[in-house]
Symmetry: C3
Subunit: 430 residues, 3 copies
């Protein structure tokens, strides 16, 4: 149960909100690089943190992000001409460069030099890992680009996707740090009934998660956020530990499912009732096969299948996630196909912005409680001028990991090597 | 003309409103039994009185109604598994029985017994007359199920349907107690011009209603609500009386049209700007023919034809009720086919929640004025702890009736036998 | 930059607003006469100035405009029977004449004479130029119908159209008085790149506007509003003047493009976030050819192509105005076809009601600044009982005009003859 005031403090991220202010201290994934395929290609509309923006790639190939409306009289810059190192409004020809500076104003007398006084909203962009990143905070406080491992490995070793989810960012994030739900939502029938729908039918981990559905949680505060250990019974000597991270402000990581790579998410606010769900799969040392890449592009695993030309799931709230009730009765716990779709169904049906005065949390929600606590503390401190955690780009060099550990061994110590993002080294999860 | 405050007092029925509190003292029709065809069938979403609910039929065949969201973290229970005498949320496996009690919580340690502390919103249900009824009020004050005659006759002697109407419940109810409009909306052209659209072209009653379009109204306060006599001139010695009831809080009855059965409605709030229009046809002593039942299922008479798989009229506000202007000019008063559709057109075009400060009532609105007066009095009294009328289940044992009576005979006395719901006895209307 | 209060004062036109009160002192175009083709034809719904109305043509052929809801209990009069010199509500048969007087009330006893006390909202209508005009102000203050030239010439010499635009009226009007944007939005590529999309590729005026994109503006206050001179360099001795008018409260005029007629617009509020864009083309002395009339009916020039049966542009906000990015890159400044569509794209993407605290006006916005100044002054004066300008019907007898004038000649004097709407006389623009 969270008081209304704390819920709003965590959920609202528009300009002028405390959480919005703190989040703007971080780089965020804004677009997939392929959305801006060429220099001077058509601009793309994008909403981030309650701000309407237009992305474009200028004549030299650099990506930029400017306010959606021309500062002259407000016409939509999406309809602008992207030409000669700037985006030109077609209403009166005003042109803006990547920094938002007006560099041409052909409808005004040259001698007035009015253009030098006009600068529109613009956010710096960088590209890494096939993603256009942007920074919406105070320029003088811009940190380094977060060194998430998937962004640093060669192209063949990673896949990134994004989709729109119609709910507030926090309830989406909370699904991402919830090691409890995977025993149910992503595979909860006994093996004799379960035909499909399990992400990882062959691993020992699946069997442990199936047999012990009430994991014991242990949290460790770190400089980047939380290290979350979910402990399940394995055998007489060992526990099965599923260890995940929450990294400020919106990143989560999950251990590999079966033969796939490591997985990660970013849950980035579009506005108060919509968010971008970014999904990342990567292998630290080996390229994916072409078949694996094709499958991921088609939406397998944590990458949901979207309606072509959109970032909306094919199975979505408007079609009840294509639930198959007979399948649910006979073979699958949910009757909904796909991990993303299952997660989305739960997170969206909580409502556009979940009212946490109505929740009833148990011990399985330990990580969620811990994450909120850290977020609230950091937002409060940030309002008093203290930097949030995880501004150091290197603090993102971690991996999720699952493993068997002898009883009595602290999970962070026993799993230490598996949790580091060491270039050229990969330790397989259990 | 009703002051704004009184209008809102009558119209608003959500939790915490005075009218909402009083209405929750009564059983209400919630679903058609066939919407929950089998034990453990898929759950059904339903909105009632501004509350989002999920209906299900458990393994033993009993119907239940619970809050739409899991009390744990708010996921939609509509996507739940209906199995083994309970509805199980697919997010973390919490399971609820018909009473709302959490009976399984597999993601928490058994020893915590957390499940015993979790109870979700649940409303008791009973079935009668092919309808699932629910009671949303204080458990200790639950009355008996209203003994409306259509719910007590054999299945072949009745037909029940429901449809969604996009307006506040009260303006819908007011249409149901308005004996004046039937001379116009449901048949207002002289016989030479009227080709179709009259519900009852062969009865004498139709002719009386056509000839005398400004009936004189007399109201009698009863223990269940109002007995409403609409008096029209018939011949030198007799008046034609059309006698209808309004029964607390939302029931209306109408005499048979032609060979059809007696009719009734319930106008039940979905929320402040939508309501369920329930329609009931029944014959006290004889089964309908298969043809008659088929016709009613297809939407004839007071049962409107809906878009298959929905409860929305085919002819609706979005398609201007398929009005045929040439038909209206030549043959029909409205150009709209069907009694339900004609009523719906008038009631919905009053706006989502009619602003009664703008109305101008005449003597033909006597019954409407009387109904509001009773409702306001009952709501005021209820707020002071006084039970509303019609909690006695037997008070619903009445029938509407139309008849010729000699001038000077009080209508409630002259028509007394026709107005009683006597098992095995049926007196035909004029 | 306009303060929020002044922006709202200018934009809001509902009943009870200062601008709404002042605007209601003027006749306004309400419907195209062909929307009401015959006596007793079906009624037509129309929203004007935040009021929902129903237009009808009575048995004698006169047009009328009444409130959308029956004053009895609010049912929609759109579904009414238009018959025998009045519109009859089909709920209870109440009938209203053109003045709004209830002239029949068949559901009430004749002796009560209740009908004489019931009068619904009704606005007087007149027809001129193929348009139904209405006056929504105080009856005693009704002025003469504005003598706009297009309304006075023979039918073959004019064409009028209307379309819905989804934005506040003022930002639409501002586009109409903005002589600066036509160098860009309606034709901004050098001739070698420009293949199509220019309204007037053969005129000398086009060449002047293309070469000098930063016109110097001069405003002259007149008894009807503003005379706006946009001066561009032509040759050593001459300036090219494009002279347009803004006439209280919502009319703009533009000089002929090429061989077409003179053009004009009215930007009439539907509600706060929608407006009617009326477009008028006329030739003072010559009939249009049948081909020209057909082209205009199909939406050429300032008349946009609408979805048949609607007043919505085919190319609209929902389909990104069918922008062709390759066309925009190669041949056209905007990639959007059609002057109306180009204007609409700019005006609608400013948002439903543009927030003028965010604008940055330059010298090219001189006419817009002047118009707002006059409107604000007139609204303020009107609130103190002073009549607005342009109530004199003759003040509308003006034409827009473009011409070369020797440097040093004041434009209003040099162009005086071209700016008068003199019957039988036409001076061609440059």
């Amino acid at each position: 149960m969270l008081p209304k005031e704390e819920n709003e403090l965590l959920c609202l991220t528009g300009p002028g909100t405390p959480m919005g202010r703190m989040m703007r201290r971080f780089w965020m994934p804004a677009l997939l690089s392929w959305e801006l395929p060429d220099p001077d290609c058509p601009p793309v509309r994008i909403r981030l943190m309650n701000e309407d923006l237009v992305a474009f790639r200028d004549s030299t190939g650099r990506a930029g992000l400017v306010g959606a409306h021309c500062p002259h009289r407000g016409a939509g810059l999406f309809f602008g001409r992207n030409e000669e190192e700037g985006l030109r409004c077609v209403y009166h020809g005003w042109k803006f460069d990547l920094t938002g500076q007006c560099v041409d104003m052909p409808n005004e007398p040259v001698e007035s030099n009015f253009k030098s006084k006009i600068k529109t909203t613009a956010y710096p962009c960088e590209e890494r890992g096939g993603v256009v990143w942007t920074y919406m905070g105070p320029p003088e406080l811009k940190p380094g680009l977060p060194e998430l491992e998937w962004g640093l490995v060669p192209e063949k070793q990673r896949h990134a996707s994004k989709r729109i989810q119609e709910c507030n960012w926090l309830q989406a994030l909370e699904g991402g740090i919830d090691s409890s739900h995977i025993s149910f939502l992503h595979g909860g029938l006994p093996p004799t009934r379960e035909k499909s729908g399990d992400p990882d039918p062959i691993s020992a981990g699946y069997e442990y998660r199936r047999r012990d559905k009430s994991p014991h949680f242990e949290l460790i505060d770190t400089d980047y956020g939380l290290l979350i250990g979910a402990r399940r019974n394995a055998d007489e000597e060992n526990y099965y530990w599923r260890i995940t991270q929450w990294i400020f402000p919106w990143y989560t990581m999950i251990p590999p499912f079966g033969g796939g790579g490591i997985g990660g998410h970013a849950w980035v606010p579009i506005d108060d009732v919509n968010c971008w769900v970014w999904s990342f799969s990567w292998h630290p040392t080996q390229p994916f096969s072409d078949d694996q890449l094709t499958e991921m592009q088609r939406g397998s695993g944590i990458h949901g299948e979207v309606i072509p030309g959109t970032f909306n799931l094919k199975a979505n709230l408007r079609n009840d996630f294509l639930i198959d009730r007979e399948e649910q009765r006979q073979h699958s716990f949910t009757g909904i196909k796909g991990i993303s779709q299952q997660d989305c169904a739960m997170q969206e049906t909580m409502g556009p912005m979940f009212d946490r005065t109505k929740e009833h949390l148990g011990s399985s929600d330990t990580a969620i409680i811990g994450t909120r606590r850290r977020l609230l503390a950091a937002v409060g401190a940030h309002e008093e001028g203290i930097d949030p955690p995880a501004l150091d780009a290197e603090s993102y060099r971690v991996r999720s990991f699952s493993t068997l550990l002898p009883k009595g061994v602290p999970f962070d110590q026993g799993a230490a090597e598996g949790l580091k993002a060491q270039p050229g080294v990969f330790i397989a999860s259990a």
